[in-house]
């Protein structure tokens, strides 16, 4: 049946600060929930109807008292507010540079993860210890939520969009993953484990079992074309990186015709795009992040880049989530190459 346990293991950099807030709030709860009932009990005994005590001159209002507890409480509340907001920004801030990015795809009722080096997992997430890991998450169907209690992090995983979350594990070991947004019949079974490893072990793990993940285990929405070229690397016994798989798609889907070097300006070059500012035709500027690139592939006319005709066909229904992830990794790799050569 298990032991009495009062808080989950602390296994990330954020767990300590969150628990400090938790215990402060618990202290605050005790600070109020013990004295007030105590005062009530005291009054119940002292002023019981059978007792003869001084009941003279009872007051019915006191501005001093009312204002005192109103602003006293407001002050305490604001203190907690600033503290928790500070931590909230820390958890959900745009990830710091040099994170290890891992793609997570949720679907009824499993988690699928893709490492940039090409390794894929189901219901498991291997990460190196003491490394900032960023999860780029999306769902193939309904809303899920990715929750690792030992890390004190959670974020909803939405269909049609990426959400991100980052953490830095501080202890090797295995921790639970839960889905915390109700997602249908087997919601309770949608979980898994995070395996936190030493960096060297992680790198060894990335090279193990090259390409043995069976095709059927990979998520594939029925009715959509199965991914053609990304499997090529696996068949040759070499695990292709996500970026390499993305490049294959880039060629096979004909993206290269306009976006490649032979495109002759029919479409904007993708080199250096990731993370850059994009000027749109409607005058807006936005940052080319995962969500922008995803939307521009699936529904190109939503955000038209200034100076280019809207001629790109939508790839919605043609590419699956995994292929889009790979394309994004490929486009990102163009940025980092550019960055080093410039």
């Amino acid at each position: 049946m298990g032991e009495f346990q009062f808080y989950p293991e602390q296994a990330s950099t954020i767990a300590g600060p969150i628990d400090a807030l938790y215990w402060t709030l618990t202290g605050l709860t005790l600070l109020f929930s013990i004295p007030i009932p105590f005062v009530i009990l005291y009054f119940m005994v002292k002023y019981h109807h059978s007792r003869t005590v001084d009941r003279g001159n009872p007051s019915h209002t006191s501005m001093k008292l009312e204002l005192g507890w109103t602003f006293g409480l407001l002050g305490i509340a604001l203190g907690i507010f600033f503290w928790s907001s500070y931590l909230y920004f820390d958890i959900y801030r745009p990830a710091p540079a040099n994170t290890l990015d891992i793609y997570v795809t949720g679907r009824q009722w499993m988690w699928h993860t893709q490492h940039p080096q090409g390794k894929r997992e189901n219901n498991e997430l291997h990460v190196p210890v003491n490394t900032r890991v960023r999860l780029i998450m999306t769902s193939q169907d309904v809303i899920h939520s990715f929750f690792i209690p030992a890390f004190r992090v959670k974020r909803d995983v939405l269909p049609g969009r990426y959400t991100t979350m980052w953490f830095e594990a501080t202890k090797t070991g295995e921790y639970r993953i839960f889905c915390t947004e109700y997602c249908g019949t087997e919601h309770a079974a949608m979980g898994g484990r995070v395996v936190v490893m030493e960096l060297a072990d992680y790198q060894r793990w990335l090279r193990e079992d090259l390409g043995v993940i069976p095709e059927s285990a990979a998520p594939d929405t029925s009715g959509r074309p199965s991914q053609p070229p990304s499997a090529g690397g696996e068949s040759s016994g070499q695990l292709s990186t996500m970026a390499a798989a993305g490049q294959q798609i880039f060629i096979a889907q004909g993206c290269i015709g306009c976006h490649g070097q032979q495109g002759r300006g029919r479409a904007p070059s993708l080199a250096g795009l990731y993370g850059a500012q994009v000027q749109l035709e409607n005058g807006q500027t936005l940052t080319a992040d995962e969500n922008y690139i995803r939307e521009s592939i699936l529904n190109p006319r939503a955000q038209i880049v200034a100076g280019y005709p809207p001629i790109m066909p939508p790839y919605d229904g043609i590419l699956n989530d995994q292929q889009i992830n790979e394309l994004i990794e490929y486009i990102r790799s163009l940025t980092s190459e550019e960055g080093t050569t410039r």
């Binding site: 049946m1 298990g2 032991e3 346990q5 009062f6 808080y7 989950p8 969150i18 807030l21 938790y22 709030l25 929930s33 007030i36 009530i40 009054f43 119940m44 002023y47 019981h48 109807h49 001084d54 009941r55 009872p58 209002t61 009312e66 509340a77 907690i80 507010f81 503290w83 928790s84 907001s85 931590l87 909230y88 920004f89 820390d90 958890i91 959900y92 801030r93 009824q108 169907d141 309904v142 809303i143 939520s145 929750f147 030992a150 004190r152 992090v153 974020r155 909803d156 939405l158 269909p159 049609g160 959400t163 915390t180 109700y182 997602c183 249908g184 019949t185 919601h187 309770a188 079974a189």
Partner: protein, 550 residues
């Protein structure tokens, strides 16, 4: 009834002047008397509470063991969804306003009836129609979306009774709007001479605030349900990204109503507590205006905090911060009430009658429920606790520990007025204690479960959580006994209870100046109010005449 020399039948509201005593069914089903309609609501609502309670028993029984072995996950999902929908839309939201509010508001302000008596009856029929659709859904396969109906699960993936239940909720909303509208007009226009705004009992103030939310918030729920139906039936893309919609939009719309709805449930509970604490402390309320205006403050700020249900939903961190700030602010008026109730007892003359024990139980549970709300208003803390059992425990402390305790306490307090009979005082006290103990054992362990990471809406769970689930289930069986007891002794009181005098508690308030039960037109002579509410004198030892110790 026959053994007691009751006054002539037409002397009380059970006897309708128009239809006489004979065709009693007709006289009830066609009544426009707010007191009878309140009792009609009471039957309906207690019936739904019983159904919701049975479903809760199913949940707690299943969760005794880690595996989904008593029922499978498919059935479990239907059980917790039905429990939530029935309890919220068919019990908690109408509970106090439609029963005690309906019965008491005209009496308390010295009016003959509500402003629109026929509308009042209509609202009951609308509620029953909605209840019919809800029961129809339960008996034709149920529904498994959770009471929150999150999209795109509810619009595209669920293959259970989303539409019939949506219709039920849509219809039920109209009964809620009509009740709120009726109260607002009644309180504005039908107060007896001398009943100024600041002489009204706080029960009325709190219901006024509740009615504002009902009238302003419920239409948004109706629109949301319509949009949901449009997408589910006609595949018009509003929420499902596959159709070009935005799933988070639904959450905004849903919580824009459903967070204020929490205050629709809670404010009437607070309304009752103000009456009980003053009466059984024999003392005027401390800080009348602060208690009155805190109700309005809750109603207003309550509309601005919906985003605190969405801290993890991909909402921007800045929006999260604003919602967090306002959520902290809305905690303050609730705390003001608690402090004022406590201060009211100072130098009072305190009696431990059953309604008072329920009120004190309310205070204890509401303090814990309110303070744990601060954990969830704190953005970073909520990231960890969101959608875990911590949230489940928190809102049960507010809804069950708060509203339900107040409802049962109020039912005891006004039972003599409503039925003309006294209930068994000793059993009333026992049941209050059993409910308090059972409740804490049932729900306190769930706070720890949530902090450990146990997600809500799980039919099965890892073994390390079992110890707390077993404690919780044990507590809920004690709680069930606590709820069953009043059913027995209150019903027995109808036959065996001593006849109640007009004012068994020596309470102030116009409802106690008329007979128990009151005549159809409430007052033989329109009352004239000359003093503040709660003009109790704690130094007067003889005024309180509790009766009915049988």
């Amino acid at each position: 009834m026959s053994s007691i020399s009751t006054p002539r039948p037409q002397d009380n509201f059970y006897h309708d002047e128009k239809y006489g005593f004979r065709p009693w069914l007709k006289s009830w089903l066609l009544t426009t008397d707010h007191k009878r309609i309140g009792i009609l609501y009471m039957f309906a609502i207690n019936f739904f509470f019983a159904i919701g309670g049975l479903l809760a028993t199913g949940i707690r029984a299943e969760l005794v063991t880690p595996a989904a072995d008593m029922v499978n996950s498919e059935v479990y999902n239907r059980i917790f969804t039905s429990h939530g929908i029935i309890m919220i839309f068919f019990f908690l939201i109408p509970s106090i306003p439609a029963t005690l509010g309906n019965f008491l508001i005209p009496l308390m302000i010295g009016a003959k009836d509500l402003a629109f008596p026929k509308l009042n009856l209509l609202s009951w029929y609308i509620f029953m129609l909605a209840g019919f659709f809800a029961l129809y859904t339960l008996f034709t396969g149920g529904i498994d979306t959770g009471w929150t109906f999150y999209t795109p699960y509810s619009t595209t993936y669920a293959n259970t009774g989303v539409i019939p239940m949506g219709i039920a909720i849509f219809i039920a909303g109209f009964s809620s709007i009509l009740t709120g509208l009726n109260f607002i007009v009644t309180i504005h226009k039908m107060r007896a001479p001398g009943m100024t705004w600041f002489r009204m009992p706080l029960f009325v103030w709190s219901h006024y605030a509740t009615s504002l939310i009902q009238v302003l918030g419920t239409p948004v729920l109706a629109m949301t349900v319509i949009l949901l139906a449009l997408e589910r039936i006609f595949r018009i893309g509003i929420f499902d990204p596959q159709l070009g919609g935005d799933p988070v939009l639904f959450q905004h719309l849903f919580w824009f109503y459903s967070h204020p709805a929490v205050y629709i449930m809670l404010l009437p509970g607070m309304a009752i507590i103000s009456e009980l604490i003053t009466c059984f402390s024999r003392k005027r309320i401390f800080g009348y205006k602060f208690v009155a205006f805190s109700s309005l403050a809750i109603a207003i700020f309550g509309f601005l905090v919906w985003g605190h249900h969405m801290f993890t939903s991909s909402q921007s961190v800045f929006a999260g911060m604003v919602f967090s700030l306002i959520s902290f602010v809305v905690a303050v008026p609730s705390a003001i009430k608690v402090f004022n109730w406590t201060a009211t007892m100072y130098k009072g003359r305190i009696y431990y009658e059953a309604p008072m024990l329920y009120a004190l139980g309310f205070l204890g549970l509401f303090i814990i429920g309110g303070l744990t709300g601060l954990f969830l208003a704190a953005t970073a803390m909520d990231v960890h606790l969101h959608d875990t059992y911590f949230v489940v425990a928190h809102f049960h402390y507010i809804m069950v520990g708060g509203t339900l305790m107040a409802y049962i306490g109020g039912l005891h307090f006004w039972w003599p007025k409503i039925t003309g009979r006294m209930y068994s005082e000793i059993w009333g006290r026992i049941s209050a204690l059993v409910v308090f103990a059972g409740f804490n054992l049932a729900f306190f362990p769930q706070f720890i479960l949530g902090q450990l990471g146990m997600p809500r809406r799980y039919s099965s769970y890892p073994e390390e959580f079992q110890i707390y689930h077993v404690l919780s289930s044990a507590g809920s069986s004690i709680l069930a006994i606590g709820y069953a007891l009043p059913v027995v002794y209150l019903l027995l009181s109808l036959k065996f209870g001593p006849k109640a005098p007009s004012n068994p508690w020596g309470a102030t308030g116009l409802e106690w100046t008329t007979t128990s039960p009151p005549p159809t037109h409430n007052f033989d002579k329109t009352p004239v109010v000359t003093e503040e509410a709660y003009s109790y004198n704690p130094q007067d030892p003889g005024i309180f005449r509790a009766q009915g110790k049988w």
